[in-house]
Symmetry: C2
Subunit: 580 residues, 2 copies
Amino acid sequence: MNDLEQKRHSLAHLLAGAILKLYPEAKNAIGPAIENGFYYDFEFPEPVSEKNFPRIEKEMRKMLKTWKKFEMQEVSAEEAKKYFADNPYKLELVDEIPQKGEKITLYKSGDFTDLCRGGHSENPAEKIAGDSFKLDRVAGAYWRGDEKNKMLTRIYGLAFDTKEELDAHIAQYEEAKKRDHKKIGKEMGLFVFSELVGAGLPLWTPKGTLVRETLNDFVWELRRAQGYQKVTIPHITKKALYETSGHWSKYSEDLFKINTREGHEYAMKPMNCPHHTQIFASTPKSYRDMPQRYCETTMVYRDEQSGELSGLSRVLSITQDDAHIFCRKSQIENEVFGVWDIVDKFYGAFGFKDMKVRISKHDPKTFEKYIGTPETWALAEKNLMELVEKRGIKDWVDGVGEAAHYGPKIDFIAKDNIGRSLQVATIQLDFNMPKNFELVCTNEKGVHEDVIMIHCAIMGSIERFMSTLIEHCAGNFPLWLAPVQVKVIPIMSVHTQYACEVFEALRGASIRAELDDADENLGKKIRSGKVDKIPYMIIIGDKELESKTLTLESRDKGNLGSVTTDYLIDKLSTEIKNKA
Amino acid sequence: MNDLEQKRHSLAHLLAGAILKLYPEAKNAIGPAIENGFYYDFEFPEPVSEKNFPRIEKEMRKMLKTWKKFEMQEVSAEEAKKYFADNPYKLELVDEIPQKGEKITLYKSGDFTDLCRGGHSENPAEKIAGDSFKLDRVAGAYWRGDEKNKMLTRIYGLAFDTKEELDAHIAQYEEAKKRDHKKIGKEMGLFVFSELVGAGLPLWTPKGTLVRETLNDFVWELRRAQGYQKVTIPHITKKALYETSGHWSKYSEDLFKINTREGHEYAMKPMNCPHHTQIFASTPKSYRDMPQRYCETTMVYRDEQSGELSGLSRVLSITQDDAHIFCRKSQIENEVFGVWDIVDKFYGAFGFKDMKVRISKHDPKTFEKYIGTPETWALAEKNLMELVEKRGIKDWVDGVGEAAHYGPKIDFIAKDNIGRSLQVATIQLDFNMPKNFELVCTNEKGVHEDVIMIHCAIMGSIERFMSTLIEHCAGNFPLWLAPVQVKVIPIMSVHTQYACEVFEALRGASIRAELDDADENLGKKIRSGKVDKIPYMIIIGDKELESKTLTLESRDKGNLGSVTTDYLIDKLSTEIKNKA
């Protein structure tokens, strides 16, 4: 437990201490440190809500000054039960601790004693700044997460090392709320969910599909230049494929399984690699055929728990812009760096700069989770580390236990416009799956040589990338990506004909224009253009009609003055072409 | 039973008569008329194969002259059993006939008497030409199709009205065998099957994917011009969607069903329409928004019996180039004719001309198979008939019982290059599913108005269309569709550099060129180009290198003489653009 986690854990105690002081009838259940802070669950004799926070925080700060240390005391189960005689939650926990072979320890600070395994700041009064934490919100939570149990009141707190960091977090959180892709995606009409189809299964509207396809075309443009070829596979397979790939044994609970009318077992694909091996393996390959670079944007399916589903960030049907390179050992460097170039170009276009690199390795302690031998893993990980160093990355993060079940990977961690770190692209080096499928090529000497696979999705998942991108740019897609690029608004019906000419000229130049000639007031039309975050709006009134010019309003730069239709088409076409 | 069917049925009797004459120990089981001819199953005391056909046919022709009529005799079960005392197959059938409430009838012609329900030519000797039939092949067949029963010998015969028709059928069949898409698809490397993935689940190679995508782009080009928009849906759904659409009750056994880890029931989509309704329904629609034309090329899944799977013609994962138009009643004609225009343009490009039209209607006798009311069905069918007549089609086929479960359809029947009729595109008019999903738009008076759906796939299924197209053109795809358009072959290594320049120039002009500079002999390279059915080949030797010209060899037109690279690029680009 690091220093900050110890502070957060201590603050959970402090919250419980303050609550029992203010609400002596309350019963405290459990309270751990969590990301960004802490929480504690209570049974209250009366409703407690966020409006009670100032009083509770005041008591916490007062109490904190007196908490100079945590005193540990090991006790017997009997002693513990006596101490917590009127707290059924603690009594339940006390009963379980000896069963797990652990000792029962109490921690006391100030007047407050809690059942606890330890891990606190040694001197909270000195270590924890009174303004570095804040109560955040109240939520209902079943005791032990089981809906058959009593509903308790969970109080969440935020805590950081300093007030500045706390404030920065709150500001980031407020900004993130405004940028929430679920909210913006709905306002912009990009995707919808249906009760009948179910959670985690987004349906993409024409506008959302246009953005998806434009992103995907960009990835394909970068890949085509490197000689990739598209392939197509079905979304299901007989069990046999995943028995060979290791998915059936290592990945089984994530699989959507199907029993056919004839009683055969099939599964929906959770990954595309095993299918792609079968295309590679369908004809003998010589060294002259290598490398083969297959790519395919297609959906994979994972049987996630419904409680974990959220907007586009966690879905049941995931669109991967997947690719698999089948190459010789001698080609690994060139191929990995080729993918890396694509990653740099793609993310660079959205202003994701200086991405962090993590090398995600296997965890030797849980080797049963992986396919292959310790030797193939050691070799693949050594290979990746050398490549990362050769690429000039010194400060890569060591991600033990973060590998795929078939091989280690390079993960790219981007920082978005409001400072959040997000895992994006990945390059995986796989010595194991090709072995399971006995993939070989004939080398210059006419001898079979093992083939290596490189798995490399650029966006990773289109759903995940879209959620990241929407929040990164607050829905303000760059012109080339915006589903509607220009909105043409005639002020009155007398201006409609000219507006229509401009609209047709834009469409003729393959610019995605929208003509808003509905019988509504101008203010409403402009507001709706702003909600849709359309990069350019053109409002056509008497002045424009008379001079046959256009007044151009940019979403990002404000009023750009008067232009001709030709100039406008030229300007926008150039911006689109340059992905400006 | 029509005239030809009666002949075929009579010939089945004749075959059995001849067999019992030549093999008195044989036991005849059953023998019906089928498409293109007839068969009869026998238990033989000795192996009988195709080499015995001349003798059997000779006997049949001899016997035919004496078969002037069929005499019917109604008998009791007892009499029948006595007659067939040493034929266990007939005895089994005799036992069942009274249970079905039918009478037992024997039919005698010449010396041969068979248990039969009737339906023969009245005077076979006169009606059936001796050279209008032919024995075809021998196959094993379990008695009553049950593998627990004895394996019998099935003799197939071909039969038509005249020798000319028989010969034409045989010639067509021989030609079809040469054009079999499974054979050509494999030779050209378009798609493969994998034992591990399973039957009915084709995997598309880079070349095959290129053809699929080029076809799909063509459909999209035609649709985009009419204002279609792409949407994207997941391939699974909660059961609830199909309960509303009627798929769960009317279509259940074709569904691949999934039980999630949390015990929910999901299904893989067998059609896209229910999902698309949910995009339409996600926001209120006004008359100004109508029609909405959604299209999406995506896979659907049907749990077919494995015995029915065959190449690309019958698969488990079917890629539909699907579209759904949501429109007002007043817009039906315009929308249906718009789709019809696309169908004409698309199929016209491949030389499928004068397609037949079938109006596929519901069968009132099995109304429980459909959703909706008799009134909505009558209305939709009337609508379609009026539109077909208005389009100038008088000789449409009446397809009672061929409708989808939600509505009637116009099916287009194409004739391929070897004269076979094949169902291709379809336009379906659906008053029922929009009702089930309560789809409405607000009309000019502010009142809710029912919305109509038009379901319209152009290729239908890409797999099915590809199998049709490959056999139609014997793999000789038109230039614009060929996965490799030009193959450049240097004769010796000294010619490679110039060949490479030509190859790069072609690629630079977006022509799909292949450079074959492998260290192999010229004949082998040319043969492989022919197997791949590449439209153009360029062979580069001393003459070409010296004069900096190219000798152009066309797959379809032979040697086209000497051309420059610029001329070649111009010629091919024009052909590609015009889909020549």
